[in-house]
Symmetry: C2
Subunit: 410 residues, 2 copies
């Protein structure tokens, strides 16, 4: 060991300069197929910037690894000239990632293949225990059952939690809606559950909105965006996420994009953070239901608020409350646009319903409050994936394979 070298730079820095070796084209090629950007070897050739020979060899190797499928029969695209190409697709019986999600109403487990395809889903549970180890043990047991039933190889496991996850410790800082203790070592607990269940591969844990953003970027409304901003509500509060150049930006300690305490209404209601009129307390489902004067129903705050916006927008009380929320959400998004200048924004939860109820109003507010009205033209879209947090959790587990297929599976 060389002491000078070890203390000189932080680990992540030398990682950035460290060179890749081996089949460097393998990972990028798999990612292109995974995200649906390489339907044929010809496209793969162009996207990788390599020769046809290389693209062919790489594709063959990925097929040999059981990750992708190359159609035996060529299929000509309509109106195309030349020799028809063989389609590339994700292997249908290839490995899967075990994805898990916990939320206020319970948990879910699923197996997710390449391409973000959900292969199998466990029934799920509708209640949640106060002990993280018990909950995560149950959800992993459900996942292990799925693996036994399908008999598929597992590349790893990912967990989505409705809380900020601190780096590098992997503790849940505010699992307020889970009745879990703040600071619970979720990553470690989850990894232990995965190991104890005899499941292959590494285990990862992330915030649900972050993972939803990652999934939308790769397989949903965020495809092709370079700087993607996601904002979404759960039942309570607001979460944000940023995907830069295809990677989640979680900041130095995992706490980036905690957007809930942007001020969007200086005279607004007080927030537990000590300020007033935070995005959290002004635009979440509870804020909306309170403004409408609706009694809490049995279906949960988020579902109740969404349904009201979607189905009763003609009701003046609903519309007035919704427009107030849209204006404040727009103010918050404009503030984020001025700081992050994303090239796309995706909304989830109640915010998605608000966008769909009156897209023009939201876009106008954002454009009006963005500097020079210019970046106000940023596209604002609704998220498009079902279970995007679950798919995002699987992306975490797939990442090592995408980075180095041979190293992770060989």
């Amino acid at each position: 060991m060389n002491g000078k070298a070890a203390t000189r730079g932080e680990a992540h820095l030398s990682a950035r300069t460290r060179l890749e070796r081996g089949r460097t084209a393998l990972g990028p090629a798999l990612e292109l197929v995974h995200t649906g950007r390489a339907p044929t070897r010809a496209v793969l050739t162009a996207e990788l910037g390599v020769t046809r020979a290389t693209a062919g060899a790489v594709a063959a190797e990925l097929e040999a690894l059981g990750l992708i499928r190359i159609d035996a029969k060529p299929s000509a695209a309509a109106g195309s000239q030349g020799r028809p190409s063989h389609r590339l697709s994700v292997a249908e019986t290839g490995p899967v990632a075990l994805a898990a999600q916990v939320h206020a109403d319970g948990f879910r487990a699923a197996l997710v293949g390449l391409g973000g395809r959900i292969v199998a889903t466990a029934p799920g549970c509708e209640t949640i225990d106060a002990d993280p180890a018990q909950v995560l043990g149950s959800v992993i047991e459900a996942g292990a059952q799925l693996l036994r039933e399908t008999g598929r190889r597992c590349v790893g496991a990912g967990l989505a939690v409705p809380s900020a996850v601190a780096e590098p410790e992997g503790t849940a800082l505010n699992p307020l809606h889970l009745a879990w203790p703040a600071g619970a070592q979720v990553r470690e607990i989850f990894a232990n559950c995965v190991r104890d269940a005899g499941i292959e591969g590494p285990a990862f844990t992330g915030n649900d909105v972050n993972l939803a953003a990652l999934a939308e970027h790769r397989h949903g409304a965020g495809r092709g965006a370079r700087d993607l901003l996601c904002v979404a509500t759960g039942h309570r509060g607001v979460g944000g996420a940023l995907v830069l150049d295809g990677r989640l930006h979680t900041g130095s300690s995992g706490l980036a994009l905690e957007v809930g305490h942007l001020t969007v209404h200086p005279e607004g209601r007080p927030c537990h953070c000590g300020s007033r009129g935070c995005l959290d307390v002004e635009t979440d489902p509870l804020a909306f239901l309170t403004a409408v004067g609706a009694e809490p129903g049995p279906e949960g705050l988020l579902q109740q608020a969404r349904t009201l916006v979607a189905e009763n927008y003609a009701d003046p009380a609903v519309r007035t409350a919704a427009e107030a929320l849209i204006d404040r959400l727009g103010l918050g998004l404009a503030g984020l646009v001025n700081i992050l200048n994303p090239d796309r924004i995706i909304l989830g939860g109640l915010h998605r319903a608000l966008l769909e109820a009156d897209p023009e109003r939201l876009r106008a507010v954002v454009a009006d409050r963005s500097l020079w009205g210019r970046s106000g033209g940023v596209p604002i879209l609704a998220c498009t994936l079902d279970h995007n947090s679950l798919v995002g959790a699987a992306e975490l587990a797939w990442q090592p394979v995408l980075d180095d297929p041979l190293g992770a599976l060989g």
Copy 2:
């Protein structure tokens, strides 16, 4: 051309997947020497993660290109064992970048070598014309004169302007303090001036605070940081910049980190943006001087405010005004911390003076208003480089060489 491939992904995406070829170790190695992280070939070996043979060959090639110098005599580090290593350093007579900066008081030109070392400086001008082409023509003429005097090879030119620069057009959106027209095509004008002066290499233009952040990251207080946030004042207004993984984050249209309109004082003074109590109007030199009740002096707002803070902090009026600014700056920084979660913050201009006057107060405010007080522990430092915008402008011109030394110089 393949139409399908061309329309499938945006250009930057295929660039990310496109593979490097040739001597892939050359660029990273040069960057390590450039940023002072590879003082010997042994360290270079460790940082690159290659064999000694490769590191030796790469260093020899960089020396042959005239970019670095390998000491003929070995120099043993104190208290070290083993064979002493030959020191690596930046070539003293190697190529230079032409750096230019325009600001409210005039312009400056300099030649900057690798390592961020200013090799030569032109006297500079104290007045500024309303016509961008004339100003940039003059500054380039001063730079060309320096090149003639020193006879050194030029790798390109970089320009720092006190305005947001829109991407990809390269227009200055708010050169308010320059008396230039908003929307001036500064990048194109600058590139034309460079070409007309017969200067080799490409020309680049960027915002001065962004470039200052880049320079501080590579050669100053930001070294080793992964997520670096910079906030600085000029004479009027506040600018921000973010360096992620060694690269400037300018957002999709160059307008990221326009932090001047964060709300830091809801009942504060009105801002031209339509809101009240923006960081711009609450924490810039004019805000400070107004709060103190000082008459504008001849030395410029920034210098006057800085001097007051640095030399008259005992004066109750100065102290009261400074503390109010610190509190509001802290609020703004806390908001940015909640969104970006940087691992370091660097302050420039008046903000630097405020930090140095009362570092504890500023850190306490930021920690208090950051979520969980956790990321509030982010280090807040003063910038350390002289002429950091100028050095940053040179970094732009050096970047192609750092990315691919052979391709840029061979």
